[in-house]
């Protein structure tokens, strides 16, 4: 059983962090960040060509992380592989001891950096989860053929966007993901505790029982926040956070000190994490540092969070 499953199913507060493989084949930077994260998180999500931009595959970095003693979470999208491609990679993942996964539909190639690539979408996120659940239940592959030695099992996750209109449509898809076998859920980046609480109320009202981990994106600058508000679906950074970041930048400029907005971003992320845990708003946090994974230990420390 992986660390994340043990934590969430054991009623502990789960902590995961996101990491992207490089656009290349030198994983040094990722492995250095991994060393800093060891023992501080329950799992490291490895993205599957996030934003449809070509990177080394999730499976490769997951194997490296596993070999380095971390618990990788293999992210699986339906964008580039058919059900056969996905299931084959999942068997390989299992062969390396990777036992935790996260299913997503995947951004469309036209929004990425290899726009001519053929979008596959043989299965959507619900379909991927269902295929794995069916495999585990029957020991059979996606064509109904027996899997030699029996099927591996995965702790299966999915994602949700709490800031969404119409929200019932998102809640409905969340229910489908849970019914298809998702055991934990990571959310899109959250910046406003009230919207997270409203979302959690809706999940309760819909009678959906799963472990929800709030997505945390440490902001680095006011410009980054504004850009995300304008371009990233489901992201809504409140204006007062943007103003505070801008003020930090102005202060840094006046004093000739670099990195004040980043520091403030780390503090704001830590505050949110502490609040989520202290108030028991949801079951864990998933930190998406977008290339600044080395800052994650500092965020956890400021939040007073050590994993159990």
């Amino acid at each position: 059983m992986g660390m994340l499953e043990k934590a969430l199913e054991g009623g502990k507060f789960g902590v995961t962090v996101e990491m992207a493989p490089p656009k290349g084949y030198d994983f040094t930077e990722q492995m250095e960040a991994a060393e800093l994260l060891k023992g501080k998180v329950h799992g490291v999500n490895v993205t599957d060509m996030q934003s449809a931009c070509l990177k080394a595959s999730s499976l490769g970095l997951c194997i490296k992380l596993k070999q380095a003693g971390l618990d990788p979470i293999i992210q699986v999208t339906g964008r580039d592989r058919s059900r056969m491609g996905i299931l084959g990679d999942m068997l390989s993942a299992a062969a390396f001891g990777i036992d935790t996964m996260l299913a997503l539909t995947g951004d469309h190639p036209t929004v990425g950096d290899c726009k001519q690539s053929k979008p596959v979408y043989d299965l959507d996120s619900v379909g991927i989860l269902h295929m794995l659940t069916a495999m585990e239940a029957t020991d059979k592959d996606c064509g109904g053929n027996p899997i030699e030695g029996g099927a591996p099992s995965f702790y299966k996750g999915a994602v949700v966007t709490p800031v969404y209109d119409p929200l019932p449509l998102q809640i409905n898809k969340l229910r489908q993901k849970v019914e298809a076998g998702a055991q934990y859920i990571q959310t899109q980046g959250i910046f406003d505790m009230e919207s997270l609480k409203r979302f959690m109320d809706e999940v309760d009202k819909a009678n959906i029982h799963t472990h929800i981990m709030a997505g945390i994106i440490p902001l680095k600058a006011a410009g980054m926040a504004k850009y995300m508000n304008e371009n990233v679906p489901g992201i809504a950074v409140p204006q007062d956070m943007i103003d505070r970041l801008a003020a930090a930048a102005a202060e840094g400029k006046a004093k000739g000190v670099k990195g004040l907005p980043t520091q403030l971003g780390i503090e704001m992320a830590a505050e949110m994490i502490a609040k989520i845990k202290d108030e028991g708003i949801c079951d864990g946090v998933h930190i998406m540092a977008i290339g600044a994974e080395k800052n994650v230990p500092k965020i956890l420390e400021k939040a007073g969070l050590t994993i159990e």
């Binding site: 469309h108 299965l123 959507d124």
Partner: protein
């Protein structure tokens, strides 16, 4: 209807190449409605080819270029005029039917774009991907296979922004449209069930359907 678009004329002229005597076949159905292969477009192409020094030896129309028997008759008349090449102004299916009845090369003047409807004259929208297993009964009559850029069957992805698709912000998110329609119809319960995965076995192509009982 099959929606077609004219190829750039330079591309057609490059296909025709050195062929001097040309015959033109138009289509009386979809291509007429798309203004890509009706009588008017046949006459326009004839005038253009003549302006470029070609000889148009015959022109003709088939009611439907996708109907074998009618095309056979039309092509018999056209090829009797002794063309070096035939230009077929229909969809890709019509070009293939015509080519089956020709000893000389048949060239397409159009690109075949999609199956959809004329929303109004000159405005066409894609609406069906011929998936072989229609699910419109559970989606309020809006097709997620063709109107969702990812053909998702279990609801929206996270990519919509203000109700618009991440792939083309001009397009409405199909699943939000489906949600609104089902809400208006009092059929939101149809969203709740996971849709059985229909797989792709049924769309292994090329397909043939025979309702004659014999060939």
């Amino acid at each position: 209807m099959i929606i077609t678009q004219k190829k750039p004329i330079e591309e057609l002229m490059a296909m025709i190449g050195d062929a001097q005597k040309i015959a033109i076949l138009g289509c009386g159905s979809c291509a007429t409605a798309c203004a890509t292969g009706g009588e008017k477009e046949v006459a326009e192409l004839k005038a253009y080819l003549e302006s470029q020094g070609k000889t148009v030896v015959a022109t003709g129309m088939a009611d439907y270029c996708c109907m074998n028997m009618g095309v056979k008759t039309a092509m018999k008349k056209l090829t009797a005029a002794g063309p070096d090449a035939v230009v077929c102004m229909s969809c890709g299916d019509g070009v293939q039917v015509a080519a089956n009845h020709s000893q000389v090369p048949v060239y397409p003047s159009n690109n075949t774009m999609f199956l959809g409807e004329a929303v109004r004259f000159g405005l066409f929208e894609e609406a069906c991907h011929l998936c072989g297993d229609c699910m419109l009964g559970s989606t309020g009559g809006i097709c997620p296979i063709s109107r969702c850029a990812k053909s998702l069957v279990n609801g929206p992805c996270g990519g919509q922004k203000n109700g618009k698709c991440e792939v083309n912000p001009e397009n409405d998110c199909a699943w939000i449209m489906i949600y609104r329609r089902l809400e208006a119809l009092g059929q939101l319960d149809k969203l709740a069930k996971r849709r059985a995965d229909k797989g792709y076995e049924k769309v292994a192509y090329p397909r043939t359907i025979n309702i004659r009982g014999n060939k």
